[in-house]
């Protein structure tokens, strides 16, 4: 009786946003990320700003995931807490692979704009990572064959004068079999897909 009474006090540990690790692991599996749709956009070159990080901690991962994956970007940037860089790089690479006329700009400030070479007119995509959780380690994780992550990224499309043309929120969620890929890269690919859909639909 006492044991049952004690068990009734059970609480699962939660991450920085109040989610239990299991909530990340129960995300739908996305073993084969869907690439962004082919570019149908006919407009000005797109300058993708390096994502800014305003998340509560750069990592719920620091508590639910410590061992960096084999991905080199993660190794380089996780120690400094800047996990938004791999997401940014993956989003850029996906858009470029889908033949979008996209350029990177590592200066994140939306007000600091720089035209890509050979273009006077351009469109800026600026994003702020408001939430990021990664589950790649923990005791329970050793029994868990998957890695999972989620993010909430607020994206803004602006013209070269800073006039906002579109604002939208990307909430990528991924679950991958351990060793089959990097969850941050998968998050970036999902963000790219959403950006591609916005541009293909017309601003």
């Amino acid at each position: 009786v006492l044991g049952v009474a004690g068990l009734s006090a059970c609480q699962a540990p939660v991450g920085m946003y109040g989610h239990r690790p299991a909530e990340l692991w129960m995300l739908p599996s996305d073993a084969t990320p869907v690439p962004p749709p082919r570019c149908a956009y006919q407009g000005q070159p797109i300058v993708l700003k390096r994502l800014e990080n305003a998340s509560r901690a750069p990592v719920g991962a620091h508590f639910f995931g410590a061992q960096p994956s084999a991905n080199s970007m993660l190794q380089a940037y996780a120690p400094a807490g800047d996990l938004s860089v791999p997401i940014f790089e993956a989003a850029y690479a996906s858009l470029r692979a889908a033949r979008f006329p996209v350029w990177k700009d590592y200066t994140p400030s939306p007000e600091v704009r720089h035209a890509p070479p050979g273009s006077a007119a351009f469109t800026v995509v600026h994003g702020i990572v408001e939430e990021l959780e990664v589950s790649t380690f923990d005791v329970a994780d050793q029994l868990q064959p998957d890695e999972a992550a989620r993010a909430k990224i607020v994206l803004t499309v602006e013209d070269r004068e800073g006039k906002v043309k579109k604002r939208f929120v990307a909430e990528p969620k991924v679950r991958l079999r351990r060793g089959s890929g990097d969850v941050l890269v998968a998050l970036g690919q999902q963000v790219a897909r959403q950006i591609a859909e916005v541009f293909n639909a017309g601003l």
Binding site: Q11, A12, P13, S72, G81, Y92, K104, V139
Partner: protein, 370 residues
């Protein structure tokens, strides 16, 4: 994040005595304040600008000010044998590390600007106003423990993660007239894995007196935030001319840089422009924000030092290098990639064919060979 596991057995009485010792405050650590947060040493390009005002506001959510403790996962209370387990994030009361966030952060940010030499604190230069809205600041760790209490014997199994300090703020840089020049989200962090804290012995205390160590981690993150505010402002005002601009036409050396995949480091190589000979090649900690993808060689926008070139200076440097080298803007609108010597290079660089890469690679970039 470092994980330490402690499994120990002791008599119940001894365990109680130990716990009483630590709980009594006999080993109380000095109470840290935010102004203990060290400012990174950095020397930035001096701009014709003056720091007029620093305004800090506190926008931390109410739930972050409260302490956070690991949750009880289960309890098995029996007559002869007890067992319970806890797990979760551990965060001290915010008052542990500051009672005057605005005052502490204002002092830290001013100290960081003064140390960098970036702006004048007085004079006739254009005045800038800095607004900083602190959204997050705390020290936190994750703790997992299971305790067994058979009648006279106690056993603990404890896993404690390193104390991680974290700060995040919204930065606005404006002219004295109120025109916004740039905004940024700036992060400050402290990871004991990257410092000598553990080596100095505090790592052992993490498992014993965790709250003062977490407060210390928060102070370290605040110091790092102040340093990063200066770097963020430097990026925003990078277009402003420097008192001593780079003499691109007469310079003899340029620098290549790549982000190293194994950690937060940069490899920086100095190259003789005329001959293509590599004069220096060092790997250094990456003290500034990321500005290129991993393993891609780009023309260094910091020109081998700590003074970021203006975009006009950088473009002029790239243009000069293009006479001899295959240097192009391929993926990044601001940074040019290096692909080696041009096929039809100038005679001097052709003589250095043995020291330079064969040809440009379409999908990658490469550094000259020594």
């Amino acid at each position: 994040m470092r994980v330490s596991e402690v499994t120990s057995g002791a008599s119940g009485a001894w365990a109680v005595a130990l716990a009483a010792l630590f709980l009594s405050g006999c080993l109380e650590l000095p109470r840290p304040t935010l102004q203990d947060g060290p400012i990174d040493e950095m020397i930035l390009a001096r701009r014709a600008l003056r720091l007029a005002d620093v305004e800090v506001t506190d926008a931390r959510p109410a739930d972050e000010l409260l302490p956070l403790s690991p949750a009880v996962r289960y309890v098995i209370p029996l007559v002869l044998w007890n067992q319970w387990a806890t797990e979760g994030n551990l965060r001290p009361d915010a008052a542990t590390y500051t009672e005057d966030l605005r005052g502490d952060m204002t002092a830290l940010v001013r100290q960081a600007f003064t140390g960098s030499g970036s702006f004048a604190t007085q004079g006739s230069g254009e005045a800038l106003r800095i607004k900083l809205r602190i959204n997050h600041l705390y020290g936190v760790t994750h703790d997992s423990s299971t305790s067994y209490y058979p009648l006279v014997y106690a056993s603990f199994n404890k896993r404690t993660f390193g104390a991680y300090g974290y700060a995040e703020a919204h930065l606005e840089v404006a002219s004295a007239a109120g025109r916004v020049l740039g905004t940024r989200e700036v992060v400050g962090f402290f990871d004991p894995n990257l410092s000598d804290l553990v080596a100095r012995g505090a790592g052992g205390m993490i498992t014993l007196r965790v709250r003062p160590v977490l407060a210390h981690a928060a102070a370290m993150a605040a110091g790092n935030l102040a340093s990063n505010v200066v770097l963020a402002v430097d990026l925003i005002v990078a277009g402003h001319p420097r008192p001593t601009p780079l003499a691109v036409e007469t310079m003899k050396t340029f620098f290549l840089v790549r982000a190293v995949p194994e950690g937060p480091f940069l490899e920086v190589a100095g190259v003789d422009i005329e001959t293509g000979k590599v004069l220096s090649d060092v790997i250094v900690p990456r003290w500034m924000e990321p500005y290129s993808a991993i393993n891609e060689w780009i023309v260094d926008p910091y020109h081998g030092g700590q003074e970021r070139l203006t975009q006009d200076e950088y473009d002029a440097l790239v243009q000069r290098l293009q006479a001899t080298y295959d240097v192009r803007y391929v993926t990044d609108a601001r940074s040019a990639h290096f692909f080696g010597v041009k096929r039809a290079a100038a005679p001097a660089a052709s003589r250095a064919a043995s020291t330079l890469p064969r040809a440009a690679e379409p999908e990658g970039s490469q550094k000259p060979r020594e």
